[in-house]
Amino acid sequence: MSSTVIEIIRQKGDGTEFAGRAAYEHPLIVRLCHWVNAVSLFVMVGSGLQIFRAFPSFGAKIPQKDLLHWPKAFAIGGWLGGALQWHLTFMWIYIATGLIYLGYEIFTGNYKQLLFTHRDFPGVWPMVKHYFFFGPKPEQHEPYNPLQKQAYTTVIVLGLLSVLTGLAVWKPVQFSWLAWLMGGFHWARLWHFLVMWAMLAFVFGHLVMVLLHGWNNFVSMLTGWKRDPEY
């Protein structure tokens, strides 16, 4: 569970001086899964919106009342058939990276540093105050703060829901029990759509935090090593 921390020195005159620390935060499997999943999520959302364009409604076909007109420029696939090819290809990559990541986290026990539990409740409000109301930064003793844990736990749940709602839309007969749980095919399609927006909300927050936390933090998802960690 504990990450490797190293200390870096630099040459000074005839001797050396302490130059900083670096923590190995993200194992290779996690980094690979993160980036492949990021690409596949991008394709799934883009092609999903193109599929949605074929019937941009969750009501009746007759009369059809469109919910919104999503611009074609912000979609992938060009036409319904093309978008389905992208969606039904990348869903396997999306599912595979999700399963490999989850399996790895469970097998190594690493999930414990990310899983939001009841012990994290007291720390949520101080973090919210810090992030949104300029409150003091709470002391941090572990790699992830309670709000991060909440976000990363939620997005895993959303990932699972995106697959389950997707399966219900793709196979409402073979997985009729799944579709039934969601209120039938019609509702499963709506849930699938809503889960996508929830994931996009996460991605937005995630990207904002990446920008706020600077270069070292971003690099750590590429090299695994985070220069000068806060803890």
Binding site: S3, I6, V39, G82, P172, Q174, F185
Partner: protein
């Protein structure tokens, strides 16, 4: 090469990042390093992680970072999907894999959900989808279904011969590839019963149908033999109207809408598909089982 700590940090057991000979900076001697590290070893390091790495100079750390960066480089292989000349065949393979998985998921005995009469979409709100014309002008009195292929009794069949088979009525969901769905009431003969009548070789792989409007479709044999797959001549207990495919259409609740061909004129049992279906041949899923 680890930082020597005044305390007993596990120096000797660490895996060092090799410094290339002749690299810019001279290696600091152990004493110098010790002098240069006023901080105590971090808690985590003292815990004794078995897999410790040391990169004790900026250059060594940069090298370590580059090496780790290279390890995630294979992600750029996903870029092959952006190469125009490869994209089409890759996506075709992806869709083919999904179709293969769909075939594995299909269970012949698993029935599509059926619904109460009160759940039905009124027939006037049951969409009429054509690729060409609402009414291809079938002369109903002269209509025959031409049967060919791997069957013992090929030839022309009248509607009455199909209607003589046990009539099945079912309220099932009709799902369009576009995403909309309606619940309709369908009546007709089981395709499996008709295959029996014509003496079809059910070890053949496919059923293909041709239509009066030149639409064409195909079904895998497992789906053709499914108990809810109908040669449908009724909707909402009335003979099929022209726009819904009179006099005979397919009703396949385990398949997406474009498989439910209307205005049937030909039926063939075959092992080879030279074409799959009107939409499939433009890039849609060949199996598309629900």
């Amino acid at each position: 090469m680890d930082l020597q700590k005044p305390s007993s940090a596990p120096v000797g057991k660490t895996e060092n990042v090799e410094m290339a000979a002749g690299e810019g900076k001279a290696r600091p001697g152990p004493a110098e390093v010790a002098a240069a590290t006023p901080e105590p070893a971090s808690e985590r390091q003292r815990e004794g992680d078995p897999k410790k790495i040391s990169a004790n100079s900026e250059a060594a750390f940069a090298r370590l970072s580059r090496r780790e960066l290279l390890k995630v480089a294979p992600v750029v292989l996903l870029g092959v999907f952006a190469v125009p000349s490869l994209q089409e065949s890759l996506l075709k393979r992806g869709l083919g894999f999904s179709d293969w998985a769909s075939k594995q998921l299909f269970r012949r005995g698993h029935l599509a959900p059926t619904f109460e009469d009160s759940d039905l979409t009124p027939i006037e709100k049951f969409p009429i989808n054509d690729y060409d014309v609402d009414d291809p002008g079938v002369i109903l009195e002269n209509w025959r279904l031409t049967v060919s292929g791997a069957v013992q009794r090929p030839g022309e069949y009248k509607l009455a011969q199909i209607q003589a088979l046990p009539r099945i009525r079912q309220n099932t969901r009709h799902v369009c590839v576009e995403g909309w769905d309606v619940i309709g009431r369908f009546g007709g003969a089981r395709l499996s019963d008709f295959l029996n009548v014509i003496g079809a070789d059910t070890s053949a792989r496919f059923i293909t149908v041709g239509c009066a409007d030149d639409y064409y479709e195909s079904l895998d044999m497992a789906t053709a033999l499914h108990p809810q797959t109908l040669l449908c001549y009724e909707m909402y207990d009335q003979p099929l109207t022209r726009e819904h495919g009179a006099p005979l259409r397919l009703n396949v609740p385990t398949k997406v809408g474009y498989k439910q061909a209307k205005y049937l004129t030909d039926l063939k049992v075959t092992n080879i598909l030279d074409k799959v279906g009107y939409w499939e041949d433009q890039g849609y899923s060949e199996f598309y089982g629900l």
